[in-house]
């Protein structure tokens, strides 16, 4: 939560900086015949940062992980999903696709259904956190698109996953 606050404050500061940026002199106004003041020490580049693109924001985390054959979002990952839900509620024009995945320890079809349930449980929590259902599409890849293909827990835990992908 601290991180979110910090990034919102940061974003506000940056917005404030941006609005104070001196306007370009208008073409009609003659340039004053005074020497330009020495440039101020180079300021940080002034851009409006969408907290979504802030690598230090919790919103930079887009994946949540699950134990074997479980589809409920785990306590440790809830703040991630809640932050995305809040962001979506504040940005009603944004849409996400939640992609559910499973490790290979089940049939392909069971895992497709399990991945769907993992995507759907993230969707439910996004909605509880303020997002609208119309902003969220869920899909499952089951075990068909593993990020890691070895038969061990180190691999499997990476594949038991829902990804929140902004469209």
């Amino acid at each position: 939560m601290k991180k979110i606050l910090f990034s919102i404050v940061l974003a506000n500061l940056l917005v404030a900086c941006a609005s104070e940026k001196p306007k370009e002199p208008e073409a009609v106004a003659p340039a004053p015949a005074v020497e330009a003041p020495a440039p101020a020490p180079a300021p940080a580049p002034v851009v409006v940062v969408d907290p979504l693109n802030d690598p230090t924001s919790i919103l930079a985390k887009r994946s949540v992980y699950f134990p074997f054959d479980v589809s409920a979002v785990q306590e440790a990952d809830k703040p991630i999903v809640e932050a995305h839900g809040k962001y979506l509620s504040e940005h009603p024009d944004r849409k996400v696709r939640v992609e559910g995945n499973a490790d290979e320890r089940g049939s392909n079809e069971y895992n497709l259904a399990l991945g769907q349930r993992r995507a759907d449980s993230v969707k439910k929590m996004l909605i509880l956190s303020g997002a609208m259902a119309s902003q969220i599409e869920t899909v499952s890849y089951g075990e068909e698109k593993p990020v890691c293909t070895e038969h061990n827990e180190a691999c499997w835990k990476q594949n038991r996953r829902s990804d929140i992908k902004y469209q």
């Binding site: 069971y110 769907q116 759907d120 869920t138 899909v139 499952s140 089951g142 698109k145």
Partner: protein
Amino acid sequence: MVLNVLRSVVGLLLLVQASLASAALSIEIIGAGEHQIPVAIVPFGGDENLSQSINAVIVGDLKRSGLFRLVDPIGKSPHQLADVSYPDWQVRGADALVIGTVAVQPNGRIEANFRLLDVVKQAQLVGQSVSANSDQMRAVGHRIADLIYQKLTGDQGVFSTRIAYVNRQGKKHYSLIVADSDGYNEQNVLEQSEPIMSPAWSPDGSHLAYVSFETGHAVVYVQSLYTSRRVVLADFRGSNSAPAWSPDGKHLAIALARDGSTQIYLVKSDGSGLRRITFSGAIDTEPNFSPDGQTLLFTSDRGGSPQIYSMPVAGGPAQRLTYGDGNNFSPHYSPDGKSFVYTHFIDGKFYIATQDFQSGQVELLTLGGWEKNPSFAPNGKLILFASEARGRGILATVSSDGRVQEHMFTQSGDARVPVWGPHL
């Protein structure tokens, strides 16, 4: 019987319209049946002139079934009945002898004339001519192997049937492949960069239903193997998957997530008339029709872990069929409806298992490993499944008594989600 042969050959000719995929494949056979019939197969006169040995196909088929012991014919090569000296074969311990000739006809067709002889009774069991287009030489071998198998075992052969599976090469190349029952003669039905799952044969072998992710999520398609034309069977929000045909080919059972949790629905084969038939709120998937079309087996985790259940197709309460430790998946009825094959997962390993409906007796047919997606051959004597060896996904068969296993290695990539097709 001759009519049957002709009809099958015609079917195979039509199938060949699909593009030919890479053909090389290697095969390993593990174990042996208990009561193997000793049979000698003399290379047919003219076989050496063919680009594809018909005899090699026949020998491979009979070996793979686990029911035959091939007696070496070395030193003797009769091609006509008049050339056969039965005592030659009796001393070698052969109970049956196969002789014949094969040649490409002036019209370009290949024709084999063969005889199956009973060495003990010194009598002809089968004498028949089998022909096909010259690009279908393997089909001629499979047909002859079927006739030998049927005569010597009393069961219908399945060597002329076909299988379907998905081949995955890396993360961006998926092919839906139809091949002969021995894995050769592969033809691409669909090739794309997104995953393909769950091919299912229509009962007449003319169509495949399957799941493709080409539009970004799982959608069920039905595709003609003759024309390659296809229709979208189900494309609702969420996953659309697990197609299974009713025995009359008029309906499919599918698993849809459109109403929340994955549940089972019935739909006509043109995609109309959708009707939900399970209401568990849990995962219900992998439906499979009984041969009489009255009952469905399926996988559900409604009891807390994935297990096999059955329910009337018309709707009604489901009955749990698998108990004990471990998870169970992917049920497929045996062709006689008396048992089912499925995947049993316990202690980190998958096994291919069967359960008898009447006695409830469970048999593990394999030693365990990465073994999934079993389905029966149409004669119920062999089971095809996905396995793994040397770090690759392969196709494998096991005899329904668990005695003989065979591994089929495709040339490259991982073979996945195989399913055995019907008699043509």
